[in-house]
Amino acid sequence: MKLNAQQIEIIEILEKDARMPLEDVAKMVGFSLEETTAIVKQLEDEKILVRYISLVDWTKVEEHPGVRAMIDVKVTPKQGVGFDDIAERIYRFDQVQSVYLMSGVYDLSVIVEGKSMNEVANFVSQKLSTLDSVISTTTHFILKKYKHDGTVLETGKEDQRIVVSP
């Protein structure tokens, strides 16, 4: 689907802040509220705007369990379906948050979430590495998130500017 500049602008605004009132979005791109609402609806129907989610910093929530690991997976692609078949076999697991086909020394990058390192380790050894096409796995646990999707999580940012200037 080919989009025009205003449609793309609407997506960019919502990508940054999904809770931006459509009334304000409309003003920013120079459309009426009705037009903007219709465009957003269309983008949702086309699954270009797939879902509105929150960026959460769970580390601030006391005793919240949870670990994330990025796993480099080498696989043997299959005749006819390439990597799609094995990717699907991997993403069907609920523990799997993301699956990407990568260029470089391994094939799939898999992000797995679990309550503990043990749980993730068990998943990798018992479910992931036992799949037929999987040749090898390398697991990297995420120790600390500094910046996620363009947002710096721990920031003491304050406006340093003087209140009124010429």
Partner: protein, 390 residues
């Protein structure tokens, strides 16, 4: 000690009006929880790759003076950049001076061209320091008023009405602080024609040139016949979000640039060395960051202008810079009253338009170099405030 007599201060400085912004700043700074739309600088921090380059220059020990006109490499980059972006051509050897912000560029320009009593036509509303800088250089500032009726664009006929034998130059700023108005090619041409006919210079403050939202920016120096009579002032503060680095530059034909350099070398020696290294990086690799900032400002411009018009404070669509300049005449207040009461009642700081010149009266300058959340909240408060006057 009360020995300091007022007479120790020169007559000229005694007569200099204090900046109207200063008074407002003191008031706003003393209050808590103020949302400020009074800030005349970007809300972006200088992009990291630029900051890093300054750090690297310190690590390398580049802490000495540079040539008076600035690092040659920086002047080369400026020449290249101005040619590529704005289609104006200046020789890095003798037509470009790196200055301490655009302000020092304007200052040396005035002092270079003015003999006592020479006149400069200053188009208002404008940046608060133009008139004092003319006066401090011994000149006489003749103000003309761009008005809301013409979207704050000055007409050649208005210049015609005040031009005299003593007119040496016209001081022009586009995109404009405080109105945001940007002159298009045809409008610049008309003013250029006037300048050529009357043989006057134009000091073009083009510090906001990068921040043009609806059409490509045209530099006064790019208008045929104007290269030789334009002193083009620009810098890194606004477009590259580098206000605190204090780095500007001025481009002018060789005889004028060389004369300006005479003053600059005695006055300031050279601009800050680490800022200059940072600026080289900004020009070489900063374009994509500038474009990102422009995109963000454009959205906010659209948002604030539409919001003002929706609430009944009519506001022309400013083509550049990051200021909206709505009319507050419908409230029956003067711009000073409006700004003071708004600050007291709703804790929103704006700058009363009259500090920028006579025709700014009845307007307020609202900088949209603030986060969207701040703009949304500030506009809510302003809308609530003006209900008092309906």
């Amino acid at each position: 000690m009360t020995l300091t007599k007022k007479s120790y201060v020169s007559k000229m400085v005694n007569e200099l009006k204090p900046s109207g912004i200063r008074r407002f700043f003191d008031l706003a700074a003393s209050m808590e929880g103020v949302i400020s739309l009074g800030v005349g600088e970007p809300d972006f921090v200088t992009p990291w790759h630029v900051r890093e380059e300054a750090i690297r220059s310190l690590e390398m020990g580049y802490t000495a003076y540079t040539p008076n006109a600035g690092l040659f490499e920086l002047r080369q980059e400026i020449a290249h950049y101005m040619e590529k972006e704005f289609d104006v051509s200046y020789h890095p050897q003798n037509e470009i001076i790196v200055t301490i912000g655009a302000s020092s560029a304007i200052d040396i320009a005035m002092r270079t061209i003015l003999d006592p009593g020479d006149e400069v036509i200053v188009v208002e509303p404008c940046f608060v320091s133009y008139v004092p800088m003319v006066e401090l250089a011994g000149g006489k500032a003749i103000t003309v008023q761009a008005t809301k009726e013409h979207d704050f664009k000055i007409l050649p006929s208005q210049l015609e009405a005040v031009v005299s034998e003593r007119t040496k130059a016209i001081m022009l700023c586009s995109p404009n602080n405080p109105t945001g108005t940007m002159l298009n090619k045809a409008e610049l041409k008309a003013i250029a024609q006037f300048a050529i006919e009357h043989d006057v210079l134009i000091i073009a403050d083009e510090i906001y040139a990068e921040l043009a939202y609806d059409e490509d920016y045209t530099s006064m120096a790019a208008i045929p016949g104007m290269h030789e009579r334009t002193i083009l002032v620009s810098g890194f503060s606004k477009g590259f979000a580098m206000t605190g680095w204090r780095l500007g530059f001025v481009c002018a034909p060789k005889p004028i640039a060389e004369a300006m350099l005479k003053i600059f070398q005695y006055q300031l020696m050279c601009a800050s060395t680490m800022s200059q290294y940072a600026a080289i990086e900004a020009l070489k690799n900063g374009r994509s960051q500038v474009e990102k900032m422009v995109k963000s400002y454009r959205r906010r411009r659209n948002f604030i202008v539409q919001s003002f018009n929706d609430m009944g404070l009519t506001c022309h669509n400013p083509g550049g810079a990051f200021y909206a300049f709505p009319s507050i005449k419908s409230t029956g207040l003067t711009s000073q009253e409006f700004a003071a009461q708004l600050l007291q009642q709703e804790k929103v700081a704006v700058v009363p338009g009259d500090v920028f010149g006579e025709s700014g009266e009845g307007h307020i300058r609202c900088s949209y170099a603030a986060s969207l959340e701040q703009l949304q909240e500030a506009l809510k408060r302003i809308e609530r405030f003006i209900q008092n006057f309906k």
